[in-house]
């Protein structure tokens, strides 16, 4: 089946390699940020880490055994 114009269905997975490559590139750009911007980002990371460490799993998902 030609994929160029095909609509996706739930079992027709898109090729996201360009998307992931662009994300990797933006990570490399972030590495070149000024020390000040990196400090700001670090503060956000620490705040996010604090929130995540207080997270509670209220319902554990199961591993499908199909």
């Amino acid at each position: 089946m030609a994929k160029s114009n095909a609509s996706l269905t739930k079992t027709d997975y898109p090729d996201l390699s360009d998307m992931f490559a662009e994300k990797e590139q933006s990570r490399l750009e972030r590495a070149k940020e000024s020390p000040r911007n990196k400090l700001i980002a670090l503060g956000q990371i620490q705040e996010l880490s604090r929130i995540l460490k207080s997270a509670k799993i209220v319902k554990k998902g199961v591993v499908g055994r199909d």
Partner: protein, 171 residues
């Protein structure tokens, strides 16, 4: 402040569900991993999503862009800036990610609940991607006993990840 931002981001995503743009979704990636193991530096907010009704193959985020743009959330590269945070929406790239999202944990984040890819599926996804940093992170899950071994082995077997797992065990 960031918790409020996260709540707002979650509300935006719920809005997409209510509007019939997306179906199943779950927080994945490095931020999700930080819920289960000692944190490492990341502020990436990656959500795996099922786009209801599909999307053009070469423009897989089109329905998301069309929904978010009128709300003032413009795409920036492959991410969207929502409440000051960069958020990436990742349509299921494969069966493993789809299954991981369907079987996500439900996690309480300071008063609101959000589906998060479970530790076992996160490790399986890391093994599948198998960049160096993914394998190192998979080892962190193992060393910190953050995974159910039986469940992880089921996934490793089902998705043919034995070779990557051996590399992790030799780290």
């Amino acid at each position: 402040m960031l918790l409020d931002d996260l709540k707002k981001i979650f509300e935006v995503i719920k809005g997409m569900v209510d509007a019939g743009i997306i179906g199943d979704f779950a927080l994945g990636g490095a931020t999700a991993a930080n819920i289960y193991v000692e944190p490492f530096n990341t502020k990436d907010l990656d959500f795996f999503i099922h786009i209801v009704g599909g999307a053009p193959f070469l423009d897989p985020l089109r329905p998301i862009i069309d929904y978010l743009k009128p709300l003032g959330y413009e795409p920036d590269g492959v991410e969207f800036k929502i409440e000051g945070q960069m958020v990436q929406f990742i349509p299921f790239p494969d069966e493993l990610t789809e299954e991981a999202t369907r079987n996500a944990d439900l996690v309480d984040l300071g008063g609101f609940r959000i589906p998060v890819v479970s530790a076992e599926y996160l490790v399986a996804i890391m093994l599948k991607i198998h960049r160096s940093k993914d394998l190192v992170r998979a080892k962190m899950f193992w060393d910190q006993k953050a995974v159910d071994t039986d469940s992880l082995m089921v996934l490793i077997s089902r998705y043919g990840l034995e070779e990557q797992w051996q590399r992790v065990m030799h780290l």
